[in-house]
């Protein structure tokens, strides 16, 4: 067991506290059950955590605001939980409250005139996108893979990676306005929506970009309760391309040219777990209308071939895009992909943004590290699920997925050490990790020096009692 088990409560024996909470949230949406406390104590990582005392399922903004006010008065830590679908080491503290926001999942308004959608924080990305598709629209930020079942609020708070190569369509880029409950219980709106007489349509107005403060803040500055995001007309047509490259320099040269020509909606460069003799593959997805798509496809094909790309089976790219199953990136049906050796693995994921030109260096650093540790990794049963790079318009988001046996304590410990070391190595060569959490933030954020001090200053000013997600981005003692 990796949990620091604590059967003892700080809140629950205190009837007065429980009754006060019951005045805010009905008992049917409040649980002290051990199973729930374990379930909502961490994300999908294997990092140690503690257990909250209670998990609440709020349904309204005022319920959230009242819980936060109550917690502030009592100085009880509050942790914000969406789908908990990250692999980044989110942990909670003993004696805390977990606010499970998935119950707030309504799509509130689809404004096709001003190209925005407003949804409650717990609305699931694919649910929102599907509702838009029915009307001929889609979110401007198109994601793919397992993350489609993450919540909009969670994706914004964690600064989730957009799977997009188009300029201005990363998740954060497309947030127009937020509604946020601050750590003192005040409810604010950002962007044009902060004017009660207006609507959410423009982010950069009425003073500084307050919206940006909450993107990637991992719930430390406030609880996001509503999200307004940019939408666009659904692209009429989609084309799929897939190339094998003999080395990554050639592939990245092709990527750079694709970026410069602004041809692609999405591209994913993959290494590891590929058939013998294949160094890397590039999946390319092109969207557009019937007048432009043929030209875009031809251009992209010419570029990839010019850099030595050998066309491969685009059906796999299509299956990945249409079914959302990652396994198709490597041409494997999902039921076989995750079984491998038949034992359960955990994934101490490592990630970072890199500018395009730095990508080859990042791969070198990774492979040098991996190969020099291969004996130990193999001894512990570790393997590489893959090193995948989501291509942005001017860089790439590298996502390293090592796998270690989940039930082997030594292997888990080693996997977590490997993750920490690789994060530090990526930072050293100019990588910029995103979507970080409790166990990684102390390694990463202090390296930003004065910027980190400024972040802490902001946190102290906004949340003097440090009740909101303490320890997730900033230390428990500020």
């Amino acid at each position: 067991m990796t949990h620091m088990l604590c059967g003892d409560f700080m809140i629950s024996p205190n009837l007065e506290v429980i009754n006060e909470l019951k005045n805010i949230i009905p008992p049917t949406r409040m649980t002290f059950d051990y199973v729930d406390r374990v379930f909502y104590s961490r994300d999908l990582s294997m990092d140690p955590t503690e257990l909250p005392d209670v998990v609440l399922l709020p349904k309204t903004v005022s319920e959230i605001a009242n819980v936060i006010k109550f917690a502030n008065k009592r100085k009880i830590p509050v942790y914000i939980f969406g789908r908990g679908s990250t692999l980044l080491g989110f942990r909670v503290k003993k004696g805390s409250i977990v606010l499970n926001l998935t119950g707030m999942n309504k799509i509130l308004n689809i404004d096709t005139a001003h190209l925005t959608v407003t949804a409650e924080t717990g609305a699931v990305w694919l649910a929102v996108n599907s509702a838009l598709w029915k009307m001929g629209y889609e979110l401007s930020s198109q994601w793919h893979g397992g993350v489609i079942s993450s919540t909009l609020g969670g994706a914004v708070a964690a600064n989730a990676i957009a799977r997009t190569a188009e300029p201005g369509t990363q998740v954060g880029d497309t947030v127009v306005s937020l509604e946020v409950v601050l750590p003192d219980g005040t409810v604010i709106k950002t962007g044009s929506a902060s004017n009660d007489k207006s609507i959410p349509f423009e982010r950069y107005c009425l003073g500084p970009d307050i919206t940006g403060l909450f993107i990637g803040s991992a719930g430390t500055f406030g609880v996001i309760t509503k999200v307004s995001m940019r939408i666009r007309r659904k692209r009429e047509q989609t084309e799929y391309l897939n190339y094998v490259f003999k080395d990554y320099e050639s592939a990245i040269n092709a990527v750079e040219n694709l970026q410069q020509e602004e041809l692609i909606q999405f591209a994913l460069y993959i290494q590891g777990a590929l058939p013998e003799g294949i160094n890397s593959k590039l999946h390319v997805i092109i969207t557009g209308n019937k007048n432009t798509i043929g030209f875009k496809k031809k251009m992209a094909d010419t570029i990839c071939k010019a850099f030595g790309g050998i066309p491969d089976n685009p059906e796999h790219t299509k299956l990945f895009w249409e079914t959302y199953y990652y396994s198709w990136l490597r041409g494997i049906p999902t039921q076989f992909y995750y079984v491998r050796t038949g034992i359960p693995y955990f994934c101490p994921e490592v990630n970072a943004y890199f500018p395009t030109r730095l990508l080859p260096k990042a791969y070198d650093v990774f492979w040098d590290y991996w190969n020099s540790h291969l004996d130990e990794i193999k001894k512990l049963g570790g393997l590489l699920k893959g090193i995948d790079t989501f291509i942005m318009y001017n860089g790439g988001f590298i996502w390293v997925d090592p796998l270690f046996p989940k039930l082997n304590e030594e292997a888990v410990k080693y996997g977590l050490k490997l993750r920490a070391e690789l994060f530090e190595k990526f930072m050293e060569i100019g990588g910029c990790p995103a979507a970080i959490s409790s166990h990684l933030s102390p390694l990463i954020l202090p390296k930003t020096g004065a910027t980190y001090e400024f972040m802490k200053l902001l946190k102290k000013a906004i949340d003097p009692n440090n009740i909101l997600n303490p320890g997730v981005l900033f230390p428990e003692e500020l």
């Binding site: 088990l5 949406r29 199973v35 998990v55 679908s85 699931v124 509702a131 199953y325």
Partner: protein, 386 residues
Amino acid sequence: MLYDDIKKYENIVNRCIGCNFCIENSWLGPYHGCPVYDIKEFESYGPRGRNLIMSLLIAGDENLKLDKKLAERIFLCADCGFCEEFCMTGLPLEELRLALSNYILKNASELPKSVIQAKERLLKTGNIFGKSDKEKLSWLDDKSVVDKENAEIVYFVGCSTHYSQTQIAKAVVEILKKTNANFTILSSEKCCGYPLFAVGDIENGIKFIEDNIQQIKSVKAKTVLFNCPGCMKTFTRTYTLVTGKQFPFKAMHSTEYLNNYLKERRLKLRLDLSTTATYHDPCHLGRGLGIYAEPRELIKRIENLQLIEMPRSKEKSYCCGGALTTTNPRIKEEISLRRFEEMEKLGVSIFLQACPTCAMNLKRVAEKKNSKVKVMDVIELFNMLL
């Protein structure tokens, strides 16, 4: 016994990667696929919660109390199979649920009353309703079809049809007669064992299946016809899962039988007035047995009847409450209501399905709501027209 040691599931249950595809139906908008999660809204009530409980049990976590509350949570599953259908890692979630319920049944300090009573009723009377044997065939006018020795087909009626949805049983018998089938119904038929599997009693469930198999063997028939997908799945899929043995007869659902008959004869039927209908895919017929096409082919054979698909149909179908009829009727009613309301939004006149449990659950909602929509089994409709 297959499920005696849950530790053997350690490598399986821990393979969950937390993608949440087991509870989500977002392809269609803001819907949840897992009906229990849909009502309870804590993800820990869904398959991931059960996986967590199993992994804590396997790890020997002493903080986990095997009390009534935990047992209630584990039996709070509609057994609709949505989770297994979409699991990204291909986990055998149905098997895991069965193994966990079996473990809880044997080890919990206290069990929910509904579970104890269901088991007692079944063991005492041989049917889930606890009715006397005399009532079993009371709906059948022509008793000459009972226990015919040289029948080619055994019509396995099942508890829900025998004791609750008797109009479906009558329709099946009439259709079998109209199509000149050489069939019989066994007076010794007892519950297929499904409700026992639903409460984790695998050992007694197997006994019920095998008792029925012995009875069917006595009439030398090669085909067993079911109108209840739950019974059919129990005999074919569950039996193989828990024993490794095959059901020794050809199993056929009533919609398959009728569709084959009409297809061979190229028959079309006609409604006098133009009307609209939707079809609810029963979980055990669709995800459980993979029968999606036959009911639709049948419905399309009726002229003047327009089929409007439900937003959640085929493999994404939403449960009617299913197995919760036995273990948690209150939650079941909430689920049935949600499914019924989804149908109402389509504005159709007929709500078709092909399962007596679905009929029972959905009709109850229709009655409560005083709805004008006609809830009926596909077979009932065809019996009216054939």
